[in-house]
Symmetry: C2
Subunit: 533 residues, 2 copies
């Protein structure tokens, strides 16, 4: 993937300070979005500085035995107040840190995690597990309706690959490790997890597991779930650890209850993960379609073929244009195959034929492997930069947010059309228009697809959170009405609770609540996420 | 698969009466196993007849509104007393039906299922969901430590494909449908579920889901789990229904809690299942290996290649001989590819090269497609006949049972060797020797394999259940000690509870118990399976 970025993490925005847009790049960005703001001048908000943070004093202080790795420093507390959604960035730019954690704990090891939970229990505090803090759904912020003190439990010191089993191609890995460090530790063994969510640089294995993140592969093994052999977590009632197995049919899969549990049971400290050999063979191409719907039918044919491309992402013409992947004159289907074992040119040739059968004009990779001239590479580069660009747009006063879902193919066309029009109407209704609503398919399945929408629209300074809340509520309602899911891979967090509550079986929610009570009887772990205490 | 068998189901043995071994075929079987019984004559037990069934009178009688589809008939009650394990067949041959269900309910529809649960609740009865009754783990028999009346809820009338969505290649299917009828109903649409457990003819979709059954595919999509879009079940607290989705990351997957729940939450009445186009292209071959361990390394290389063969089953030399797949002079790796979309000869060629790299001498399919001369076909035919042969062996006084597990590759060799020697020693210790202990790999994963063991050994009439109980306990202990799973695809049932309790996280068991209490507060659904009430 990309080289590991070092330097200081931003305490208010995405990723690393050194990577944020500034100077000429911000001016260029402003020029590109002028059309959206109807000639009004774009005013640039200055990011907050550490001096501007002025938090209420912490309500609790760590006991002496934990003090060495706990912080009540304003910068740390501010940095751990929010995730990194549009709403989070706006609040930070507005210098609003209303419910910061009282203490940021950074335990050095699993025993430290246990100490944090014990301490929290003894003082009646809430614990919020914190990996990379890249949540875009309010997954790491304090509950608004809970007066208990808050401890943000930052796992970033649990950052090691502990054991590699090259025979089984698996490794035991600590939950706090970030993507680049994880891959760097696996590289000497010729192995890779090959899980590349957009947040790869600033998200952790434990976070991926807790949120069922979606990764590199557009088909087949789309979520992190399928790469899990076993999970170890610390709960308020002790260690929860599943047996390491390649497969089992012994009762409901324990790991599948922990996957997606978003911190409500405890803190994921380790997992045995299935790995892959590093790919040696690649082949890719791009198909142009006259309509997004035709492109979706092409993608469907491809994913129903059993060829299992690693890349199979459909960009609508606007998204292709905005990301620089295309010229805006066509909808693009990016197709790629990869293998560590065998050439994949035959698979690409068959994919090209299938896509052509469905009206796609297919070109094998336009330029040399890995070159920036390649549409897929240009798109991927834009994809990884997008959150930094988002921060720039938000500083310029715009609304820029994404949301994603999944739907079966039979309902796909009407569903996507409904979401597009609902989003547009909602933006208009709050005065955030003209705006851009683009769509891509991030993952495709034999029985459906995961559409991902990006919104860029003019906002009213001081009013953008309310504007977006209206749009988001309308979208969640449309997704529920259309039979989609409130999230395919961003997770539920606090922001998606209304949609989630419409979606999961009521009896399952009651079961989840009961399962939580078993391991967390005082509802101290991320309370209010997924279920009410 | 095989043609649909019609006629009367056996009330004591496997499958259909018309398919049971008799006459000349039984004599031949006796001849083949004479070596095992050291020259002693084999006495053939006559199967029980309906007249010999003499059950205690039912403790409850169905109310008038359910009477039309409830039975208290001795034959029905006897037929629903046990599953179809070795232990079950022995007990039936010994005319022991000690805890028959009081009533066999065969509800005509989902409303009928609800009525059964309501009635059971009102009279304080236990309900045991019953699909095809092919459990080999005590999954459908009454608890021995529970005095409540028992209702066996037979779902076989819920046998229809309700809705087909050809665009998404999915169908809404009732839980009680058996394999052959399911495939027959899908055939007009050119679609197939392609799930072929050994019990295919006499097991149901709901049973497959409740037990996480393993099917046709030896790699990639090995369990039924991956083919599930959504599940609908009736619990004592009402309907539990998940949303139909191609993928989601919204919290822990609800379906994954229902999958493998073995009836402890309720009765699975419907599911939306992912289907496949019927395959048009096939290629297969067989590799001979000098040792089972070398064959396993070959299988590992193949499954780590990303080629995803549909068949990849390793038979040890004895199993190859016994099933007629081979001559006993080599261990066989059966390899097959299939596709509805594209030729798979290149994949087979690459598989052959990989296998040859690991010492396997590979021959492309020995004879014409589908011919009985093909090793894979001979093995599959023997595989489907095996339970009928088992019934014959049990009638002849032998012990014949199977057990299966899964283990990661790093521990594979020592684990399999330990299970083999443990099984042999245990058989010797109970005087059931000389015996055969064969092994095959039914499913293989990049990180491990699922070894499946078959035991044929001489038994002492009247003492075989105790003999086998000793062996089984030793095996379960060895599996736990070696880090395997108590079941890869046979499920837990009542027989595997001791091993299961060693394997699942204790806190998960507590969570499962809590989740059960939510939907089944009176512990009436299959009590004692997976967790104690």
């Amino acid at each position: 993937m990309s080289a590991e970025v070092t330097g200081e993490r931003s305490f208010w925005g995405w990723g690393y300070d050194s990577e944020a847009l500034s100077g000429r790049r911000l001016d260029e960005l402003a020029g590109r979005v002028e059309l959206l703001v109807d000639g009004e001048s774009l005013e640039l908000t200055t990011p907050p500085t550490v001096d501007e943070i002025n938090l209420l004093r912490p309500r609790i202080l760590p006991p002496a035995r934990l003090a060495a790795w706990c912080s009540v420093d304003d910068r740390q507390r501010a940095a751990h107040t929010y995730g990194k959604s549009f709403r989070d960035i706006v609040r930070a730019l507005e210098r609003r840190w209303e419910r910061p954690p009282d203490v940021v704990a950074m335990p050095p090891d699993e025993a430290g995690v246990t100490s944090v939970l014990d301490w929290a229990n003894s003082v009646g505090a809430v614990v919020i597990p914190y990996g990379g803090g890249s949540s875009v759904v309010g997954g790491v912020e304090a509950p608004s309706d809970d007066d208990r003190p808050v401890i943000s439990c930052d796992l970033s010191a649990l950052d090691r690959v502990l054991e590699v089993d090259a025979t089984s191609r698996a490794a035991r890995i600590q939950g706090g490790v970030f993507g680049p460090s994880l891959e760097a530790q696996l590289r000497p063994f010729g192995l890779t997890l090959r899980h590349y969510p957009q947040s790869f640089e600033v998200s952790s294995l434990g976070g991926w597991l807790a949120t069922r993140s979606g990764g590199h592969f557009a088909t087949l093994h789309t979520h992190i779930d399928d790469f899990v052999e076993s999970i170890r977590a610390v709960t308020p009632q002790g260690v929860w650890e599943s047996r390491r197995l390649p497969g089992s049919g012994a009762g409901p899969a324990p790991d599948r209850l922990m996957l997606g549990s978003e911190g409500i049971f405890g803190v994921i400290t380790e997992a045995w993960m299935r790995l892959l050999d590093r790919p040696r063979f690649r082949a890719s191409g791009v198909a142009r379609f006259a309509s997004f719907e035709a492109g979706a039918i092409g993608a469907r044919a491809l994913v129903q073929s059993g060829l299992w491309p690693s890349n199979c992402r459909l960009l609508d013409a606007t998204e292709a244009l905005v990301t620089g992947a295309g010229d805006g004159g066509a909808h693009l289907l990016l197709v790629g195959f990869e293998s560590a074992d065998h050439p994949v040119d035959a698979q690409l040739a068959r994919a090209a034929a299938l896509v052509a059968d469905h009206g796609g004009s297919f070109a094998v990779r336009e330029s040399a492997p890995g070159s920036e001239g390649d549409a897929a590479e240009r798109w991927r580069s834009a994809f990884l930069r997008a959150p930094y660009v988002r921060d720039g747009l938000v500083r310029l006063g715009l609304i820029n947010e994404t949301f994603e879902t999944a739907i079966t193919w039979d309902r796909f066309e009407t569903f996507v059309a409904d979401i597009r029009s609902t989003t547009g109407e909602a933006l208009r209704s709050v005065g955030a228009w003209p705006g851009l609503v683009t769509c891509r398919l991030t993952h495709v399945y034999p029985d459906g697809a995961a559409p991902y929408f990006t919104v860029i629209a003019p906002g009213r300074r001081g009013d953008r959170l309310e504007q977006w809340a209206t749009v988001k509520a309308a979208v969640m309602e449309a997704i529920a009405r259309g039979g989609g899911t409130v999230t395919h891979h961003h997770s539920v967090g606090r922001d998606h609770r209304p949609g989630y509550d419409l979606e999961r079986p009521d009896l399952f929610a009651a079961q989840l609540r009961a399962a939580k009570r078993v391991v967390d009887p005082h509802a101290m772990m991320n309370p209010g996420v997924l279920v009410d205490p």
